[in-house]
Symmetry: C2
């Protein structure tokens, strides 16, 4: 028998959001995350992985293990659970975040989320699975060890090696040593920063910078970060308390996460130190600190509202100090940049990741990745979590660390890798699609919708409608033009008139029986396309709507 | 009398593309560049500055001085010259690049481009202007010294301080010293990298990396860079020749620029070293190097075609070495990333700016900016070239370097700064618009087109058309539905039927005289919006086209 490893998901990031491990008739799933849209995914909230393979093999799927509580690892659960309602296993904080999510989706009562301590093993058929502690930009992040009859598989989850994490819980080197002495058949390791040399700095470094800014600021301080960056929030709270500042929170997700994390003791804050945003005005400005959403420039977030003078409670003033404790996710650069610009224009002093050490990321750089490879000395290696270029860079590190070239597998999503204790090979490839989510709509693009949207976004649309009678051929209503997003169609009746009169000649050809109805539609459209191009050098979509008298 | 400084242009980058200096009844203009579109500028090739102020004061405008030959400094000339045909002054290479551009626009014969040596002064009314040499990522880049009766103005252009540039022409420290001893009234200095600490590395560093990669590669090498990066091209040619490789060129702009630069001796290459792309197949792979366009992932460029296996001459193979000697311009990250991914998937080894030192940028970092400030010791300071955040960072450096706070001016485009040898203040603000160029269309968005495009791109459009008679009210043709870019409208006749039947009821209300024509249009649309949202949770644009029987 052999083990099958199948990364699932969309087109770009490989094995990032969901990975299946199959042995005989049993499948366990690691992570169930979503992907954020890029510029090509117009009007999409997020993208979820293609789980048709899992649905087809529903009876084999036994459990879902979640490494940590970020959206790109838990966000697809509400879309998977209705199809495959198997037990979910995770650490405590992760489980709490999953429950918040399942509750929002009204799936809480029917789901089975199990909180598991690290190093406690769970038997599922021939598998024996345990979590081990790693460091990442959210507490309670775990790697996963999967024991199979063919050998031990280690999945790192997202990780970095932080020797001084905020919660003092370092990566479990003891567990790693034990796995190494047991012998690791296969390592699947985080490739997100495999192109970056050196070490990723510790989260503590950020704490020191925050503390320096907070202790020297002479007026109000506003700190924006990810709502899920619980260690960061803790460091901000620590510094605020130390500097005798009261803390107020603004932004729905920030409020929700801090409340949950305080209740479950993942955040420690003296009760009297947190006050409501409405009360903050009653306190001298230099004794206040506001924690806000908006570190990614999200249009409806608290910080962005402040930057546009649209926040209900806070008006940015000269002397305000603003800290954006995050770096922009690819695609959000312009939004973040615009927000920073607007805040500076309002007179505030803004500290952000390009100018100060107010953010570090949560992924291992090359030296840490090599350490992981050398600690575990796996026989087989699959770089996961990253675009192909990152997998390539990580594969190169593995090769340099002594793993045989033929034992390193750069997979695409859908590839089925078959490994046993002797050999490994790609035996199949399951076609993967991106599944788009927008509001309550979920759809798999047959290729048309996105292309149509891209085309509309670049050129706009012109609609020509008219009504004819067919028996005998007659013109019932004359051509009429509407347009959206088309250049030169504002205050330019000349072109509109030209299009109408062009259409009129085709309608007349029809009533004089020169052309039939099909030809009318086809020739009219192509003639309008040419005419618009000649007049405007633009190629908007031309829609011809000939209504027919009943 | 006093001098007026007016940065013109669009909304984001200040003073980047065009700057007016006005004294009495005379205006000289520095640079005339374009801006590349961002994600918000849908279907736009580029954005040109708003020159309505110059057109209004056409008689005052005496000359245009261009600092260097990059698109963001010369690209708007073809749009300005037809309105304001004044003499253009520049260095030789810059002038040649301008002439190529004006020739393309069929404006060459009527334009007056003057090639000026550095340190030769040109008298224009009360102004006396001279160029002085700076370093940037294109040869022959110049700063500008403008002597006025009120004092000396220094405009740095885009610059860095490179002590070992490829053409051995370092920044003209002697000129800077002379200006300093003369006394500088006002400095306008490049802020692009004002947020970055330290020094920008020399272009030579890139040469060393390129040479190391080129000398150790065992098969074909493909290098992509900007066509205007003439020093980079020279370094690639040097290394190829040294390593006995023949060079072929692919990509229209690369071909054009290298031909021009070779003819004017800005590039030196042994004649026999360059061969045509068609001949390259006849030579052993390890004796070839290909210079290609596509460093920004431009969809129709040579490298992108190769990455998709669509290039006419070159098929990427295992062992090919590809060097992308550029970093992505903001907004192009995804395109570049995708290209790198595809090249790796084809088996090539790709070196790019995130993994190797194959690119340095052409702008001064903080230490260089402070050096410029301290060398010149200006009374007044305007940070230019950058978003507001960059100006802020640069302003802070100036303050730290000893310039009085009240003498540092962070301007927005359109602000009119009035300075004399005593004081400076903003006296006016001229509203600025972004002018969009797409193909041969030029338009100033009245706010609607771009918003409509953004809306169409996110939600698509549904068109409902029908025909009625008005006297007496009657239904001539039944409702008909078309859609573009709308989710759930493919293979979902159920929703289409619901919309039609909803429309039918409104038409019947009309023929039974329950509602009039205006009400029909308004109520039908709003009812369709609600129905679509209820069924699909989407908000596409709904266009109701009621045709009326004539």
């Amino acid at each position: 028998m052999s083990i099958r490893i199948i990364p699932l998901g969309g087109l770009d990031e490989i094995g990032k959001n969901i990975l299946a491990i199959e042995y005989k008739n049993q499948i366990i799933v690691i992570d169930a995350g979503l992907k954020f849209p890029n510029e090509q995914s117009l009007g999409v909230d997020f993208i979820i992985p293609d789980i048709s393979y899992l649905i087809k093999n529903k009876k084999k799927v036994k459990a879902i293990f979640i490494t940590h509580g970020h959206e790109d690892h838990i966000g697809a659960l509400p879309y998977i659970i209705p199809h495959i309602n198997v037990p979910i296993y995770s650490s405590k904080l992760t489980g709490n975040l999953i429950n918040v999510k399942l509750k929002d989706a009204k799936l809480l009562s029917e789901s089975k989320v199990n909180f598991v301590e690290p190093r406690k093993s769970i038997k599922i058929g021939k598998f024996s699975i345990e979590f081990f502690r790693v460091c990442h930009s959210i507490p309670d992040a775990m790697g996963i060890a999967v024991r199979t009859p063919d050998g031990l598989i280690i999945h790192t989850g997202d990780f970095k090696i932080d020797h001084t994490p905020v919660d003092n819980k370092i990566i479990d080197f003891q567990a790693l040593s034990e796995y190494a002495s047991e012998g690791v058949l296969l390592l699947c390791s985080d490739s997100t920063y495999a192109e970056v040399s050196g070490y990723t700095p510790s989260e503590k470094v950020v704490g020191e910078t925050l503390d320096r800014i907070i202790s020297t600021s002479k007026s109000r301080i506003i700190v924006a970060t990810f709502a899920s960056q619980i260690s960061r929030v803790q460091q901000v709270i620590n510094s605020a308390v130390k500097n005798s500042r009261k803390i107020a929170i603004t932004g729905r997700s920030m409020m929700k996460n801090i409340t949950m994390a305080t209740n479950t003791r993942y955040i420690n804050a003296p009760k009297e130190s947190i006050i409501s945003i409405k009360k903050i005005k009653e306190i001298p400005k230099n004794e206040t600190l506001i924690l806000a959403t908006g570190a990614q420039g999200e249009p409806t977030s608290a910080l962005v509202k402040m930057s546009k003078n649209q926040h209900n409670e806070i008006n940015i003033e000269k002397k305000d100090t603003i800290i954006i404790s995050a770096s922009p996710i690819p695609g959000n650069e312009t939004l973040v940049s615009k927000t920073i610009d607007n805040l500076f224009k309002l007179g505030a002093e803004v500290f952000h990741s390009k100018t100060s050490f107010v953010h570090v990321h949560g992924h291992a750089s090359q030296e840490e990745l090599k350490l992981m490879l050398n600690l575990l000395k796996p026989k087989f290696f699959i770089p996961i979590h990253g675009e192909f270029r990152h997998l390539y860079a990580h594969g190169k590190l593995a090769y340099e660390s002594g793993i045989e070239k033929s034992n390193i597998f750069l997979l695409n999503n859908g590839d089925v890798l078959d490994v046993n204790n002797q050999t490994g090979q790609i035996v199949d490839s399951i076609p993967q699609n991106e599944i788009f989510v927008n509001g309550n709509s979920i759809w798999q693009d047959p290729g048309n919708i996105m292309n149509e949207r891209i085309n509309l976004s670049k050129n706009g649309i012109i609609i020509l409608s008219a009504t004819i009678g067919t028996n005998p051929p007659s013109i019932i209503s004359n051509p009429k033009i509407s347009s959206m997003g088309v250049v030169d169609f504002y205050q330019n009746n000349k072109i509109t008139e030209m299009l109408k009169s062009n259409a009129q000649t085709y309608l007349e050809k029809y009533i004089s029986n020169e052309i039939d109805l099909d030809t009318l539609n086809i020739e009219l459209e192509s003639s309008l396309v040419k005419l618009v191009y000649k007049q405007t050098f633009q190629k908007p979509k031309i829609l011809v709507e000939i209504n027919i008298k009943k």
